[in-house]
Symmetry: C2
Subunit: 790 residues, 2 copies
Amino acid sequence: MPTHGTRPDHGFDVHPWELRWRGFDIDTIGRTEALFALSNGHIGLRGTFEEGEPVDVPGTYLNGFYELRDLPYAESGYGYPESGQTVVNVTDGKILRLLVEDEPMDLRYGSTVQHERVLDFRTGTLKRETLWTSPTGRTVRIRSERLVSFTKRTVAAIRYEVEPIGEDMKLVLQSDLLANEPIGGPGGKSAADDPRLAAALDNPLVADLADCEDYSAVLVHHTKRSGLSVAAAMDHEIELPSSGDTSVRADGDLARLTVAATVPQGSKIVVTKFLGYGWSARRSVPALRAQVDAAIAMGRETGWEALKAEQIAYLDDFWADADIEIDGDSEMQQAIRFSLFHVLQAGARGQSRAIPAKGLTGPGYDGHTFWDTETFILPMLTYTVPAAAGEELRWRHGTMYKAKARAAELGETGAMFPWRSINGDECSGYWPAGTAGVHVSADIANATARYIRATGDEAFEVECGVELLVEIARFFTGLGHHDANGRFRIDGITGPDEYTAIVNNNLFTNLAAQQALRDAVTSVGRHPSVARELDVTSAERALWTSCADDMVIPYDESLGVHQQSEAFTLLALWDFERSRGRYPLLLNYPYYDLYRKQVVKQADLVFAMYLFGDRFTPAQKLANFDYYYPITVRDSSLSACCEAVTAAEVGYLDLAYDLMSESVFTDLHDLHSNVSSGLHIAALAGAWTDCVAGFGGMRDFGGTITFAPRLPRQLTYMSFRMMIRESRIVVAVDRSSATYRLMSGPTIELAHHGERFVLGDAPVRKPISPPAAQHPPAAPPGCEPYRRSL
Amino acid sequence: MPTHGTRPDHGFDVHPWELRWRGFDIDTIGRTEALFALSNGHIGLRGTFEEGEPVDVPGTYLNGFYELRDLPYAESGYGYPESGQTVVNVTDGKILRLLVEDEPMDLRYGSTVQHERVLDFRTGTLKRETLWTSPTGRTVRIRSERLVSFTKRTVAAIRYEVEPIGEDMKLVLQSDLLANEPIGGPGGKSAADDPRLAAALDNPLVADLADCEDYSAVLVHHTKRSGLSVAAAMDHEIELPSSGDTSVRADGDLARLTVAATVPQGSKIVVTKFLGYGWSARRSVPALRAQVDAAIAMGRETGWEALKAEQIAYLDDFWADADIEIDGDSEMQQAIRFSLFHVLQAGARGQSRAIPAKGLTGPGYDGHTFWDTETFILPMLTYTVPAAAGEELRWRHGTMYKAKARAAELGETGAMFPWRSINGDECSGYWPAGTAGVHVSADIANATARYIRATGDEAFEVECGVELLVEIARFFTGLGHHDANGRFRIDGITGPDEYTAIVNNNLFTNLAAQQALRDAVTSVGRHPSVARELDVTSAERALWTSCADDMVIPYDESLGVHQQSEAFTLLALWDFERSRGRYPLLLNYPYYDLYRKQVVKQADLVFAMYLFGDRFTPAQKLANFDYYYPITVRDSSLSACCEAVTAAEVGYLDLAYDLMSESVFTDLHDLHSNVSSGLHIAALAGAWTDCVAGFGGMRDFGGTITFAPRLPRQLTYMSFRMMIRESRIVVAVDRSSATYRLMSGPTIELAHHGERFVLGDAPVRKPISPPAAQHPPAAPPGCEPYRRSL
């Protein structure tokens, strides 16, 4: 999103490996809850305070756990989804309430002498230190650190210590498991705005079991409509300077361990809380309880220090494979690592579950997964954490039966994947920007083929990949048709740009489908026995090829540019002067008006020129960018990172850098004023895309991986890493050259600015010519890209 | 709608001037309630039994009286209407309950010896005679007759008599005013299916006043949300053979006059009930009460016989101006008069209110008015009851401020009229088939210009017409744009065919807008002072002309046919074999699929060839009809009558007759299985259109009225009447000639099959050449037109 609003205070210390926020500001707690969220892709804990309040959105999420809600329509229609899914805040185990001599510790009262929190990208923990004086004048120091384990996906842990300052003090700690928390606060606003959604989320959990013993407790609940069960367990290690009282209770929605002790000054209470989570659509209450009992047993047996050591080791491996280093912009360096860290958190251990658009950092978009996952997030994961990319695609494959049923319901063949979903069922309540967004199926096919190319994961291809490609090829073969002139058309659908819908021959969709058809042909050729099981005939393969070959590519001869969709360049121009200050447009103008005009919400054709860049000449890329950039308003966070790549390719390096900043700082600088409802994981993944594909010029068009690095003036150096099958490489770029290194694995053929070479054990250094001076076109008035003062 | 289902039992005696139904069948009561509905355009009473039950939909309606309901959206959008309007069943005064020796008269019990009802097209009354034996063996004869007065629009009256047969009997009559009746029954199903609508209509009225005196009573209520007040009053004349007891009460939702008498055999009770109705958004309870008190005073003072005499005189005048006589198909003759009668009832006395799509005959379509009114209903009224047409257009003009506000809300200029509404506010909850149907504004302009041409109503033109034409021209000027090639395009809208939406350059819309622009130029030229008041400059007039001149008319050169919208002929063909037996398609296929294919819900381009026929050559008309008829499924009742006109013009006379039958018998034969929720007034108006414009070949392209009569083989004779300014003409057609007669008024220039002539006092007879044998194209499989066995 452009800088339509005022620039927020950023609030963070600049540091290459951590995000540190000093001081307490009630207005920013929603932002920090999302930015400081911890997740391993299975469990997500928002960065709330241990004391429970103040809080914006409490937020404990389990990937795939949802409640159903009605989707109402003023006028109903065949094939409209009747119910949607929405992510549920499950039993909150983050809470450790503190009473200081009967006074509840609450930053809204008393005085906060010192307060800071740190998200550490290398330890994968959220640390906090607070020096607080109660309204009655007693001062305590609180330190906490917590983690959601990357190595033990059902486990989270919190270490919490309290030290009285200047006097002995009676302290009481209440460690809770709390279900059905109120969900209010500004970040929960979307729910409050929609009474039906609010109703679905009001006390969504029904208690099935509550039990406790010694320092441990467990709660099991189920949802009212979706029928999913969730279990949460906690256990504790308690270090007291002297004796204290402990008691434990569990009943209904609350389990609580209470520790009361008189703590001399100079000593402290330390509580380590182990949390275990599990959910199931099928398992019984005793089985689920056993599962979380085992999780906390494993957590406690491992112990805090060992859990943390495993976390660090896991992240060491990640950074070794994925880190991007830059010189010249330390704030950007921090933002890039923040971005990579959060993309990892979103995708690391989803294990056959989706990666939601907001990860597990907030309730935004109902917790749904969109095309963001395969198109924006998976490219980074494919080349850095390929196992996570494979798991996500296995989830898609696991929902194949739903995609085939949806296709059949709508009269289509093959598999038609949902525009938005948690469990694989279509949840879109507005079909022109939902069901009509058929490119999501092509996006899944493209991601599947890319993953297979990049990893050579034969087992995946045999078990999932071929079938995904075949059924998606069948979908597009049936969706389009050959017209009387022998051209293959895909009519009446919606491309990435949601300000133009129900169009014919959207260029992005046609190119993505073309690629999907060709990749299906290739994949069945590699695995004829799988193809036979899927009843693929040679005639069908020939049909896929002809559909791909005959695909309509709309082009305006008189303007010399491609058309985003057929006739797009004939539409009326949007009056950008009229809409100045009225962004995002969809909140100020009707779709009826937007659809009729040449105004683009987000990169569509310009994105296609990156993903399918081998289908365009350099001159076409320049002409198209110059035509479409000035009419693209970037009302979606999915736009800037795509435009940055093409801007860099055509030589607009300064503009590319600004666009990359807009993507990477979307959440850190809260450019959309909605970070409290969750991070924009796709925009964060844009940090990787813009470095690697933008300034690194990396392309993967099905054969050799190619590079065309060139740095913007803001940077003096950049290095990035990639895994390509067995080969791990590092590319280091400075102003005049790029150096390619093979870290491990076999030699690999690459290309540098069009020149092929083989990378073996010896580094290869290649010169980079300086960019030609270029004058980029102007953005739409009032939509200038985000420009940071460096 | 084609004969997708089985052919229903028709049930009616064939008679040229009445509709008679014999016997009692509980399954048909919903149908007969609608078919026997009485209305004057202001008050509508469904044809329920006086005894109140059995009933399907009780139905007492006042034109313009509605309640608000929420319009919910699964995903909301800017400019979506938040609340809709729905017609309310107001206080029911039709009820006269009868107790026969303590046994309630109810046709579901006891035995119905004889029962018949007659809707008389010349008296404008609904008559009924029932001979019924109670479960305890007592027999009574009931005769009733009722009317909704055409001459006194706030008055209705019922004459009800009961005669004991074979023995003296104690009879009790309860004459009610009853508010908040239950609305259940099959015809109220749409409400029951939608819990929100049902909630809005559950006890919609709040009691404000109840009073009674002697034989009269009054109830005043208001709606909960729309804040409209309604008053209903009744008074009675009672004729008893001897003395009896009477009492009256009024409280809350019920007012009741009770008459109890012992009636000797051979004598009878006769009760004449006078009803008065009024409603207002502004007037006070006492004012409204006074209004209905005056209405019943007027009704009673006039008396039953005089009311009936006035009714007959009114209808004598109507038939003198509007009757259509045919020889050769007596069932069709009856159906035509039934149709003309109901169109009259819908529009006669609306007086600055809308004419709803279902008149005041049922709750279907929420009681809304669509483009049906100006495009289907007004042509008949314009040439037969021009005052009614003028009143309707004055209603549209009265909502101009809402249409201008709606245009401004959506970023348009001028006036943008609602797709569906009761009070002028947009009520469409699905914008691609609502707000995007911009042709409704052109339709209003076209009807305005037609009315002015046909009537020469200067006062209307000055007060309303010029402004309607100017503001609608402004709307289309702003809606479209000149492209780089200088063509004027109207993109991203929806034409009449609702199976193709959000298209560019819908031919119907472009031609309707072109006509609207030209008529605006003409009208401001006639009234320069009005134009000055509206700030019309010569530059603006020139702009209108250029927009009209440059209008895109999409044509497919390779197929040699016009395109319904740009690129339409490139879309995939619909698989009609697949959809056999799955009609209407919108209940079995998603819009997503329908929009992408060449499948047409209802005449669109084919309709345009009738309305704007001077823009097509005869060869184009034939080619276009042959292309579009085989892909038009007629899932709308608005289709057959339009296709019939063009079928007749291109020489497919048999097919035209079948299509006309499908339109005219839509309700009489319940072809859509939904007549219980109200008549399809536009389809009934098709009877007039098909006779006059179809087999009479009447066209009015802005200058001379022209005819091209030619009868189908089913008819040996047809005559019809028209009023053109001051001239009343009759056109009588037989197999070989047409005779034109001037009944009154000045001489008039006409044309017969292209030959101009002046019609004065002497009849003019012109020969008709026999039609060339033609072989029409086939309908889509399973969509053959309705063919009656004659």
